[in-house]
């Protein structure tokens, strides 16, 4: 243990504790900007500087450990002056158009400048403007980048894709796509983790709200919206709602208030995914062939993109089942259109996703199977949904709870847990066990739950042992792939989610600087699951009806046509 004094408070902390954390333990929150615990502790912004008694030079609190007997001042005249100057310097190179910034009100730089009372910057404004393809789902605005390097570090350390890098040296140092590539030709999975860890508005998703408003304004267009499982666990954060008020029912109500004609649930098509993917898995397990590699889930487009760019030789082991978003789109413009008597081409299909990669997924060549344009016409992130609600000046806490529309609003507890890492695995296990044994298993498969990046489990289902692995975060995915390639591990079925914690930690989710919220959101999904009357995908009555009336059975020709990729 180390004894020290911060701002006159004596404290005792473990050896190796950073000054930042030591201060926090006695309630002193040292202002910081670039710091991201465990990921980016590089002391670049020099906002967290503190003065150490007896030393001339200030030291950064974020990446320097405490020393026995040190006496620190976080607000000495020197610390105060340096902190202010450094924020002013950052502002001199920052496009401070806060009113038109997506992060206005949720920006650490804005808050810090305001807290410090910086009303004028004494330095010449020098903002870097680099061109960027505004059609790409991920937008980088160089004018707002403060070179904190968080995006570089997240992509290197957590996602292991190395899309961002420091570019140029000297005064022209900036962040850009690595290896002199442009973003379109990079291997970016569009996981969006760089966006959710950006302290400013330098990184964001492409804003697709204008297209939503156009669709809503057109009386000829029938708008059909689906909401992904993980969105319901986070949408309230974007609106400042307490968790108790951010219910599924109010979310549905808000969407209806905005004017969407049909409000459906991606949970429905998550159940459908289980029917297709689960059946595919059972076929694979019983086809008598030795499979060198496991079957991999395919519902996460960030992961699918990663697999195809990093391990193309193994991409054949991905399930051919489309993601719930795309299954929904295909069913909405065929089965539902027929049933409701709406010409498919009049349907404008919108999804609300915790994800940026879904924006690209909806435009991939296999995703036009309904014959009426793209199966999903537009993808919004949870953040865009939040902005939509705000733009419509809706006060969600005053709304009455409403149910999803029928028939594509019916879902089970198995569908809702898709939003957390291990959820697809658990939902698949529930149904696979039923198919193989004729009996429903106990629905809770605790060993596949939880935030660890890699979880192995073996299950006995009927006669068979099923070995599985559940992974989230692409660095973990890469480590797993290397182990599988080396032959040091063997699994039958592997679930991968690109974002740490799964979709609840998705790159399209609301941002709270410095906080990882997947761990808070996931339990909400498990609670919804626990309280659902039906918890097995195969028991969803609307799914049963869909097969009976339209698809026949899982993996039927029509199911293949609509619900599977061509390989």
């Amino acid at each position: 243990m180390v004894n020290l004094t911060i701002d006159g408070k004596k404290l005792r902390v473990r050896e190796g504790t950073t000054i930042m954390k030591a201060a926090a333990s006695v309630g002193i929150r040292i202002p910081h900007l670039c710091y991201l615990e465990g990921i980016n502790e590089i002391g670049a912004c020099k906002v967290c500087v503190v003065e150490m008694q007896g030393k001339t030079k200030l030291i950064t609190a974020c990446n320097n450990p405490v020393e026995e007997g040190m006496v620190l001042y976080t607000n000495s005249p020197k610390a105060r002056s340096v902190r202010r100057t450094n924020v002013e310097l950052i502002l001199s190179q920052h496009d401070c158009s806060c009113a038109t910034c997506v992060r206005s009100g949720n920006c650490n730089l804005q808050k810090l400048a305001n807290d410090l009372g910086i009303l004028e910057v004494p330095y010449e404004k020098e903002v870097q403007y680099h061109p960027w393809n505004k059609e790409f789902p991920l937008i980088r605005d160089s004018a707002k980048c403060i070179k904190c390097m968080r995006c570089v570090q997240i992509c290197d350390k957590v996602q292991d894709l190395h899309i961002w890098d420091v570019q140029n040296t000297g005064s022209r140092t900036t962040v850009d796509v690595s290896q002199n590539r442009c973003i379109e030709e990079s291997d970016c999975s569009l996981c969006g983790q760089c966006i959710t860890h950006c302290p400013t508005g330098a990184l964001r998703e492409r804003d697709d709200l204008p297209k939503v408003f156009r669709a809503l304004a057109d009386p000829e267009t029938v708008t059909v919206v689906q909401v992904a499982p993980a969105v319901r666990a986070a949408w309230g954060e974007a609106l400042g709602l307490p968790a108790s008020a951010a219910t599924e029912g109010r979310m549905v109500s808000a969407l209806k208030q905005i004017g969407f004609d049909y409000v459906f649930d991606t949970n429905f098509s998550a159940d459908l995914t289980i029917m297709e993917e689960g059946t595919e898995l059972i076929h694979r397990l019983s086809d008598g062939e030795e499979h060198e590699y496991p079957m991999f889930t395919s519902c996460c487009p960030g992961w699918v993109s990663f697999m195809k760019s990093q391990y193309p030789e193994m991409a054949g082991n991905l399930s051919t089942a489309k993601s719930p978003q795309q299954m929904f789109g295909a069913v909405a413009k065929t089965y539902f259109a027929e049933k409701a008597g709406i010409p498919a081409e009049k349907i404008f299909s919108i999804s609300i996703m915790p994800c940026v990669s879904k924006k690209r997924e909806a435009t991939l060549p296999d995703m036009y199977s309904s014959g009426a344009g793209a199966d999903v016409d537009l993808v919004l992130t949870t953040r865009e949904f939040g902005r939509l609600v705000r733009a419509e000046h809706i006060t969600p806490e005053l709304l009455e709870e409403m149910d999803f529309d029928s028939p594509l609003g019916e879902s089970t507890g198995a569908g809702v847990i898709f939003g957390a890492t291990g959820g697809v695995m658990e939902a698949a296990l529930r149904t696979a066990a039923y198919v193989l044994t004729g009996e429903n298993p106990v629905p809770d498969f605790q060993t596949v739950r939880g935030m660890e990046g890699r979880k192995e489990s073996t299950f006995r289902i009927g006669e068979r042992e099923l070995s599985t692995c559940t992974v989230s975060g692409l660095k973990n995915a890469r480590d797993l792939m290397e182990d599988i390639k080396k032959g040091s591990v063997h699994y039958d079925f592997v679930e991968v989610m690109a974002c740490p914690g799964g979709c609840v930690g998705g790159g399209g989710q609301p941002i709270k600087d410095g906080e990882e919220l997947a761990v808070v959101r996931a339990p909400k999904l498990y609670e919804l699951d626990r309280n659902r009357p039906i918890r097995y995908s195969h028991e969803n009555p609307e799914i049963q009806k869909l097969y009976k009336e339209y698809l026949g059975e899982p993996l039927s020709e029509r199911a293949h046509e609509l619900l599977h990729t061509k390989g």
């Binding site: 502790e41 030079k57 320097n64 040190m70 140029n168 040296t169 000297g170």
Partner: protein
């Protein structure tokens, strides 16, 4: 009214003078990987500030060049911009009155030629093609990439064995490098920006003197793979490869032509610089990994003990690290006289404990490199009455380290600079009696920045002597290797940068036999590279880790402080024996010197990227 005044510099002038010195040191410590166009623009700004403002090309031209270069850096330029830069700079070169203008423009032209690719890259992509890959200057410049800030911090805490363990992660010859490394790591040490570079080699010496390499256990080996690798040459490169291959679980078998291991460390470097028992400490530790050694074995063709093709058949991979051990001849009349010996021959006989007796003799050493200094100082120790060094350029042009030259002079060597060997004179018995030299004057500077000597219009000079030692470089015994299919170019083996040989799978080569005579640390680095790539070739991906915990930084303010230099035994005493001449730092000195390290692994770019490669 006085007519003349004695001028004394005022405070401003004195300050500027001091800033010039500061700037010089900043330039010395310039980190590798910076944008060259950006740097050039900064240089140009400085040059422009020097202009008096009288002449147009300098006053205006240098400014317009800056604008054009800014266009390049800001991505506003086209190829026409480059053409305009070139034309303008040419015209400034041709018309500026004084060197302030034409030399500034000349620098711009040199840059346009030297890094045109980067200019074009800026134009095409709006970005620089350069990046900082290893931001810690000392580590970036160490060929083996040794974790220098790490071991300096360990020495500072007197954790000497840990320091040796950490060095060994990248370099299994900590003792050799502690005593005789040419320390390229110190060249751009960021401490230069404050005062002068950290004495890195001296601190490593502190580690190995207080924790002898043979007393610090080597790390645990990986599980045996059953693969066997033959290594031709038991010098620093071959033994480094052998060490890492053993740690990776492969079996390394070293074939050495001479009777003992160590290569040039034993047969090239005299004992007074690197005592044999210290070399044996490194070798003992390396062999403790299980390396199998066969000495007195020549690998060549069928007539020799074994041929290269035998090795290829018998082993899973072969690493050729034979070094550069053959003599180079001057090519002058009388070179075959009795009493003319090559440096290689002389140092080898000393290495084999069979030194020549120079008692009472007059010796002239021809050459200006470190080997020439080794021969000179050895000759003094072998009893020579007088030893001279004949060199065709000036003392400052010598490639030997300045401290080696100064050491030789202090021990009584005579320096015949600007004297090119002309012929060797012998008596009727064929015994050397003198060397005739051609006096030179120093002349024009060549493209590499070296002043070339040219024949002076004076008479030849006769230097009477009994022994001539030729130390003008070494060559490589390449014939047998060429016969075995290894491509040879300009006398050296042709290996790729990953040390494999084109069209010969499983065959690797590195060190002096590929680069030509170089330094021990480059041979060690080549051995490390070879080990990694042989491991990959054999289908593995072993990593070499190190679990030593690096001490945390201290928060001391960085006050300027002089560098602790190494001390030597006094010249009059040391010149009579072959015992080590350099003395180690004291603990007090080492603590102060270690404290001068700026910990670039923690401060600066190092804590973002590339600061520490914990494994390789």
């Amino acid at each position: 009214m006085s007519r003349l005044k004695i001028s004394t510099p005022n405070a401003a002038q004195l300050t500027v003078e001091r800033l010039y010195k500061d700037l010089e040191r900043h330039i010395i410590a310039s980190p590798p990987g910076l944008c060259p166009v950006d740097l050039q623009l900064s240089f140009l700004k400085l040059c422009h500030a020097q202009t008096c403002g009288k002449c147009v090309p300098c006053r205006v031209g240098l400014l317009q060049l800056q604008h054009l270069m800014e266009d390049v850096l800001e991505g506003r330029a086209t190829e026409e911009t480059i053409a305009l830069i070139e034309e303008t700079a040419n015209n400034i070169t041709d018309s500026a009155d004084c060197a302030i203008g034409y030399e500034a423009a000349h620098m711009v032209l040199a840059g346009l030629e030297g890094f045109k690719e980067d200019y074009l890259h800026h134009i095409k992509t709006g970005k620089c093609s350069y990046t900082i890959t290893q931001p810690v200057p000392c580590v970036a410049l160490c060929p083996a990439g040794v974790d220098i800030p790490g071991y300096i911090a360990l020495v500072g805490e007197e954790r000497y064995a840990d320091a040796v363990t950490l060095i060994r992660k990248d370099n299994p010859f900590p003792t050799a490098c502690a005593l005789i490394c040419e320390h390229p790591c110190e060249a751009r040490c960021r401490r230069n920006m404050i005062d002068s570079s950290v004495n890195i080699r001296g601190l490593k010496r502190m580690a190995v003197d207080n924790a002898r390499a043979n007393t610090v256990p080597v790390p645990k080996k990986a599980a045996a793979t059953g693969k066997k690798v033959a290594i031709v040459g038991g010098g620093p490169g071959g033994l480094s490869a052998a060490y890492y291959l053993e740690l990776m679980g492969h079996h390394a078998v070293v074939f050495e032509e001479k009777s003992k291991l160590g290569g040039m460390l034993r047969y090239g470097i005299p004992n007074y610089r690197f005592p044999r028992e210290r070399l044996d400490e490194d070798i003992e530790a390396i062999l403790s990994t299980g390396v199998e050694v066969h000495t007195n074995v020549t690998i060549g063709n069928e007539e020799d003990d074994m041929s290269l093709s035998d090795l290829r058949k018998e082993y899973d991979a072969v690493y050729v690290a034979i070094g550069a051990h053959t003599d180079k001849k001057i090519g002058i009349e009388g070179e075959d006289a009795k009493g003319v010996i090559s440096a290689v021959e002389m140092l080898r006989s000393i290495g084999d404990d069979n030194p020549p007796d120079f008692t009472g003799k007059t010796v002239v050493v021809v050459g200006g490199g470190n080997v020439a200094m080794d021969c000179t100082r050895s000759a003094i120790r072998l009893g020579a009455e007088k030893v001279g060094i004949a060199y065709r350029r000036r003392q400052e042009d010598m490639t030997a380290l300045p401290e080696e030259i100064e050491g030789a002079i202090a021990e009584g060597a005579e320096l015949y600079s600007l004297k090119a060997p002309h012929k060797i004179e012998a008596d009727e018995n064929g015994q050397v009696t003198a060397i005739w030299v051609e006096p030179q004057i120093i002349g024009a500077i060549d493209a590499w920045g070296r002043a070339r000597p040219v024949r002076a219009e004076v008479e030849l000079k006769r230097i009477p002597c009994d022994i001539v030692v030729v130390a003008i470089g070494q060559g490589i015994e390449s014939r047998h290797f060429e016969e075995a299919g290894i491509p040879i170019k300009r006398g050296v083996l042709q290996a790729m940068s990953e040390s494999s040989i084109e069209n010969l799978p499983g065959m690797f080569a590195g060190g002096d036999c590929v680069t030509g005579p170089a330094t021990v640390i480059r041979a060690i680095a080549a051995g490390k590279v070879a080990a990694a790539n042989i491991d990959e070739y054999l289908g593995y991906h072993h990593v070499i880790p190190c679990d030593v915990e690096i001490p945390q930084v201290n928060y001391a303010d960085r006050q300027p402080c002089g560098r602790v230099n190494m001390t030597e035994r006094e010249a009059g005493e040391r010149k009579h024996d072959f015992c080590a001449i350099e003395e180690c730092m004291t603990k007090q000195e080492a603590a102060q010197e270690a404290g001068r390290c700026l910990r670039c692994d923690h401060y600066g770019y190092g804590n973002l990227k590339g600061g520490r490669a914990a494994i390789w």
